[in-house]
Protein backbone atom coordinates (compact mmCIF):
# COMPACT_ATOMS: atom_id res chain seq x y z
CA UNK A 1 0.00 0.00 0.00
CA UNK A 2 1.37 3.40 -0.99
CA UNK A 3 1.71 6.17 1.55
CA UNK A 4 1.49 8.71 -1.28
CA UNK A 5 5.01 10.02 -0.90
CA UNK A 6 6.21 8.47 -4.14
CA UNK A 7 3.24 9.94 -6.04
CA UNK A 8 3.91 13.37 -4.61
CA UNK A 9 7.58 13.10 -5.62
CA UNK A 10 6.59 12.08 -9.16
CA UNK A 11 4.12 14.95 -9.40
CA UNK A 12 6.76 17.41 -8.19
CA UNK A 13 9.25 16.05 -10.70
CA UNK A 14 6.75 16.30 -13.56
CA UNK A 15 5.75 19.81 -12.53
CA UNK A 16 9.41 20.77 -12.59
CA UNK A 17 9.85 19.42 -16.11
CA UNK A 18 6.76 21.27 -17.33
CA UNK A 19 7.84 24.48 -15.63
CA UNK A 20 11.21 24.20 -17.33
CA UNK A 21 9.69 24.31 -20.81
CA UNK A 22 6.54 26.35 -20.07
CA UNK A 23 8.04 29.74 -20.79
CA UNK A 24 9.47 28.49 -24.06
CA UNK A 25 6.13 26.94 -25.07
CA UNK A 26 4.17 30.09 -24.18
CA UNK A 27 6.73 32.25 -25.93
CA UNK A 28 6.20 30.37 -29.19
CA UNK A 29 2.43 30.85 -28.99
CA UNK A 30 2.65 34.54 -28.14
CA UNK A 31 5.26 35.22 -30.82
CA UNK A 32 3.04 33.69 -33.48
CA UNK A 33 0.08 35.71 -32.22
CA UNK A 34 2.12 38.91 -32.23
CA UNK A 35 3.25 38.21 -35.79
CA UNK A 36 -0.40 37.83 -36.84
CA UNK A 37 -1.26 41.15 -35.16
CA UNK A 38 1.63 42.89 -36.89
CA UNK A 39 0.58 41.49 -40.26
CA UNK A 40 -3.00 42.70 -39.79
CA UNK A 41 -1.90 46.14 -38.60
CA UNK A 42 0.30 46.50 -41.67
CA UNK A 43 -2.51 45.35 -43.95
CA UNK A 44 -4.93 47.84 -42.37
CA UNK A 45 -2.64 50.84 -42.74
CA UNK A 46 -1.63 49.81 -46.26
CA UNK A 47 -5.25 50.39 -47.23
CA UNK A 48 -5.12 54.02 -46.10
CA UNK A 49 -4.40 56.55 -48.82
CA UNK A 50 -2.71 58.98 -46.43
CA UNK A 51 -0.95 56.65 -44.00
CA UNK A 52 0.14 53.66 -46.10
CA UNK A 53 3.72 54.96 -45.97
CA UNK A 54 3.98 54.03 -42.30
CA UNK A 55 3.25 50.32 -42.85
CA UNK A 56 6.95 49.45 -42.69
CA UNK A 57 7.30 51.09 -39.30
CA UNK A 58 4.97 48.59 -37.63
CA UNK A 59 7.01 46.07 -35.75
CA UNK A 60 7.21 44.30 -32.42
CA UNK A 61 9.73 43.34 -29.80
CA UNK A 62 9.91 40.83 -26.98
CA UNK A 63 10.33 41.88 -23.38
CA UNK A 64 11.34 39.07 -21.08
CA UNK A 65 11.61 39.03 -17.34
CA UNK A 66 11.97 35.99 -15.05
CA UNK A 67 9.00 33.72 -15.76
CA UNK A 68 7.26 36.34 -17.88
CA UNK A 69 6.94 36.63 -21.66
CA UNK A 70 5.67 39.85 -23.13
CA UNK A 71 5.46 41.29 -26.63
CA UNK A 72 4.93 44.95 -27.50
CA UNK A 73 3.98 45.94 -31.03
CA UNK A 74 2.97 48.94 -33.10
CA UNK A 75 4.51 51.77 -35.12
CA UNK A 76 8.14 52.42 -34.21
CA UNK A 77 8.82 56.17 -34.17
CA UNK A 78 12.43 55.44 -35.04
CA UNK A 79 11.40 54.03 -38.39
CA UNK A 80 10.22 55.85 -41.51
CA UNK A 81 6.62 56.98 -41.07
CA UNK A 82 6.40 55.71 -37.50
CA UNK A 83 5.77 59.18 -36.09
CA UNK A 84 2.43 59.20 -37.93
CA UNK A 85 1.22 56.27 -35.88
CA UNK A 86 -0.44 58.24 -33.11
CA UNK A 87 -2.25 60.41 -35.69
CA UNK A 88 -3.44 57.37 -37.65
CA UNK A 89 -4.75 55.61 -34.56
CA UNK A 90 -5.67 58.48 -32.23
CA UNK A 91 -6.15 61.55 -34.41
CA UNK A 92 -5.33 65.16 -33.60
CA UNK A 93 -6.99 68.02 -31.75
CA UNK A 94 -9.50 68.26 -34.59
CA UNK A 95 -10.37 64.61 -34.93
CA UNK A 96 -9.19 61.88 -37.23
CA UNK A 97 -7.82 58.68 -35.84
CA UNK A 98 -9.28 56.43 -38.51
CA UNK A 99 -7.14 53.42 -37.62
CA UNK A 100 -8.54 50.84 -35.21
CA UNK A 101 -5.63 49.81 -33.01
CA UNK A 102 -7.67 47.22 -31.13
CA UNK A 103 -9.05 45.30 -34.12
CA UNK A 104 -5.97 43.14 -34.82
CA UNK A 105 -5.77 42.24 -31.12
CA UNK A 106 -9.49 41.45 -30.97
CA UNK A 107 -9.18 39.21 -34.02
CA UNK A 108 -6.11 37.43 -32.71
CA UNK A 109 -7.27 36.90 -29.15
CA UNK A 110 -9.45 33.81 -29.78
CA UNK A 111 -6.67 32.08 -31.74
CA UNK A 112 -4.03 32.74 -29.10
CA UNK A 113 -6.33 31.77 -26.24
CA UNK A 114 -7.14 28.48 -28.02
CA UNK A 115 -3.45 27.78 -28.52
CA UNK A 116 -2.74 28.47 -24.84
CA UNK A 117 -5.60 26.18 -23.82
CA UNK A 118 -4.13 23.45 -26.02
CA UNK A 119 -0.82 23.96 -24.24
CA UNK A 120 -2.49 23.57 -20.85
CA UNK A 121 -4.10 20.31 -22.00
CA UNK A 122 -0.72 19.07 -23.20
CA UNK A 123 0.88 19.91 -19.85
CA UNK A 124 -1.93 18.21 -17.94
CA UNK A 125 -1.28 15.04 -19.93
CA UNK A 126 2.32 15.00 -18.73
CA UNK A 127 1.51 15.08 -15.01
Amino acid sequence: MSDGVEEVRRLASNLGRIAGSAVEDVDAVLKKGMQNIKTEMQADVSGSEHFKGMAGSITYESRYSPGVVRYVGGPDKGRRGGALGNIYYFGTSRGGGSGDIDKPLRNEEPRTVSALEALAVKWAGRL
Binding site: N86, F90, G91, T92, S93, R94, G95, G97, I101
Partner: protein, 135 residues
Protein backbone atom coordinates in the same frame (compact mmCIF):
# COMPACT_ATOMS: atom_id res chain seq x y z
CA UNK B 1 -34.11 52.19 -27.99
CA UNK B 2 -31.86 52.89 -30.93
CA UNK B 3 -28.11 53.01 -31.10
CA UNK B 4 -28.39 56.74 -31.68
CA UNK B 5 -30.35 57.15 -28.45
CA UNK B 6 -27.61 55.27 -26.62
CA UNK B 7 -24.92 57.52 -28.10
CA UNK B 8 -26.94 60.61 -27.18
CA UNK B 9 -27.38 59.29 -23.63
CA UNK B 10 -23.64 58.85 -23.34
CA UNK B 11 -22.83 62.28 -24.75
CA UNK B 12 -25.44 63.99 -22.57
CA UNK B 13 -23.25 63.19 -19.55
CA UNK B 14 -20.61 65.60 -20.83
CA UNK B 15 -21.17 68.89 -19.01
CA UNK B 16 -19.12 71.61 -17.36
CA UNK B 17 -16.85 72.33 -20.31
CA UNK B 18 -17.08 73.14 -24.01
CA UNK B 19 -18.06 70.10 -26.04
CA UNK B 20 -17.90 69.74 -29.81
CA UNK B 21 -19.62 66.76 -31.35
CA UNK B 22 -18.71 65.26 -34.71
CA UNK B 23 -16.77 68.32 -35.92
CA UNK B 24 -14.57 71.06 -34.46
CA UNK B 25 -15.38 74.59 -35.73
CA UNK B 26 -12.71 76.58 -37.55
CA UNK B 27 -12.19 78.86 -34.55
CA UNK B 28 -12.93 76.73 -31.49
CA UNK B 29 -13.17 77.99 -27.95
CA UNK B 30 -10.30 76.60 -25.87
CA UNK B 31 -10.24 74.40 -23.90
CA UNK B 32 -12.68 71.96 -25.37
CA UNK B 33 -13.58 68.30 -25.60
CA UNK B 34 -14.18 66.84 -29.03
CA UNK B 35 -16.32 63.71 -28.86
CA UNK B 36 -16.97 61.00 -31.42
CA UNK B 37 -19.24 58.11 -30.52
CA UNK B 38 -19.69 55.00 -32.62
CA UNK B 39 -22.81 53.04 -33.35
CA UNK B 40 -22.87 50.30 -30.68
CA UNK B 41 -21.38 47.14 -32.15
CA UNK B 42 -22.40 43.62 -31.17
CA UNK B 43 -20.18 42.41 -28.34
CA UNK B 44 -21.92 39.22 -27.29
CA UNK B 45 -24.20 36.59 -28.79
CA UNK B 46 -26.15 33.63 -27.44
CA UNK B 47 -25.55 30.05 -28.63
CA UNK B 48 -28.43 30.66 -31.05
CA UNK B 49 -26.44 33.67 -32.36
CA UNK B 50 -28.99 36.25 -31.25
CA UNK B 51 -27.52 39.52 -30.01
CA UNK B 52 -27.01 39.56 -26.25
CA UNK B 53 -25.07 42.76 -25.82
CA UNK B 54 -23.68 45.73 -27.65
CA UNK B 55 -20.71 47.93 -26.88
CA UNK B 56 -20.62 51.66 -27.43
CA UNK B 57 -17.14 53.04 -28.01
CA UNK B 58 -16.34 56.72 -27.76
CA UNK B 59 -13.21 58.79 -28.16
CA UNK B 60 -12.97 62.13 -26.42
CA UNK B 61 -10.16 64.49 -27.36
CA UNK B 62 -9.29 66.94 -24.61
CA UNK B 63 -7.72 70.04 -26.15
CA UNK B 64 -6.24 73.02 -24.35
CA UNK B 65 -3.70 75.79 -24.57
CA UNK B 66 -1.50 74.37 -21.83
CA UNK B 67 -0.80 70.98 -20.32
CA UNK B 68 -2.45 72.08 -17.08
CA UNK B 69 -5.57 73.08 -18.97
CA UNK B 70 -5.74 69.66 -20.62
CA UNK B 71 -5.33 67.93 -17.26
CA UNK B 72 -8.01 70.05 -15.56
CA UNK B 73 -10.55 69.37 -18.30
CA UNK B 74 -9.51 65.71 -18.39
CA UNK B 75 -10.35 65.52 -14.68
CA UNK B 76 -13.78 67.03 -15.30
CA UNK B 77 -14.31 64.63 -18.18
CA UNK B 78 -13.32 61.66 -16.02
CA UNK B 79 -15.69 62.82 -13.28
CA UNK B 80 -18.50 62.93 -15.85
CA UNK B 81 -17.91 59.49 -17.32
CA UNK B 82 -15.85 57.01 -15.32
CA UNK B 83 -18.11 54.49 -13.61
CA UNK B 84 -21.28 56.35 -14.56
CA UNK B 85 -24.35 54.46 -15.74
CA UNK B 86 -26.47 56.51 -18.16
CA UNK B 87 -30.20 55.92 -18.19
CA UNK B 88 -31.51 55.37 -21.71
CA UNK B 89 -35.02 54.11 -22.42
CA UNK B 90 -34.94 50.68 -24.01
CA UNK B 91 -31.44 49.81 -22.79
CA UNK B 92 -30.09 47.92 -19.80
CA UNK B 93 -26.66 49.39 -19.35
CA UNK B 94 -23.46 48.70 -17.46
CA UNK B 95 -21.09 51.40 -16.32
CA UNK B 96 -18.80 53.50 -18.49
CA UNK B 97 -15.16 52.46 -18.35
CA UNK B 98 -12.06 54.19 -19.65
CA UNK B 99 -9.77 52.22 -21.95
CA UNK B 100 -6.05 52.84 -21.47
CA UNK B 101 -4.38 54.03 -24.66
CA UNK B 102 -1.01 55.20 -23.31
CA UNK B 103 -1.25 58.43 -25.27
CA UNK B 104 0.55 61.43 -23.74
CA UNK B 105 -0.42 65.08 -23.86
CA UNK B 106 1.16 66.33 -27.06
CA UNK B 107 1.11 69.40 -29.31
CA UNK B 108 -0.96 69.40 -32.48
CA UNK B 109 1.64 70.74 -34.86
CA UNK B 110 -0.91 71.06 -37.68
CA UNK B 111 -3.00 73.63 -35.82
CA UNK B 112 -1.95 77.14 -34.83
CA UNK B 113 -3.87 79.00 -32.14
CA UNK B 114 -5.40 82.11 -33.80
CA UNK B 115 -3.37 85.25 -33.09
CA UNK B 116 -0.34 83.29 -31.90
CA UNK B 117 2.33 81.03 -33.31
CA UNK B 118 1.61 78.34 -30.71
CA UNK B 119 0.04 74.94 -31.08
CA UNK B 120 -2.75 73.56 -28.91
CA UNK B 121 -2.11 70.51 -26.76
CA UNK B 122 -4.33 67.46 -26.73
CA UNK B 123 -4.81 64.03 -25.25
CA UNK B 124 -7.27 61.36 -26.42
CA UNK B 125 -9.34 59.35 -23.97
CA UNK B 126 -11.22 56.21 -25.00
CA UNK B 127 -14.37 54.89 -23.34
CA UNK B 128 -16.61 51.87 -23.59
CA UNK B 129 -20.15 51.26 -22.44
CA UNK B 130 -21.72 47.81 -22.70
CA UNK B 131 -25.43 47.16 -22.59
CA UNK B 132 -28.28 45.18 -24.01
CA UNK B 133 -31.51 46.29 -25.59
CA UNK B 134 -34.61 45.56 -23.55
CA UNK B 135 -36.97 43.38 -25.65
Amino acid sequence: MTGDALANGFESLLAGFTVYKDKVPATPSFPYVFVLTNFPAVSGRSHARTVHSRQLRSRTMVVGLTGASVRIVAQKLTNCLEGKRPVVVGWSLGTIESVPNEQPIQPDLDVTIPGTSENPLYQPFDWVLTGSQVP
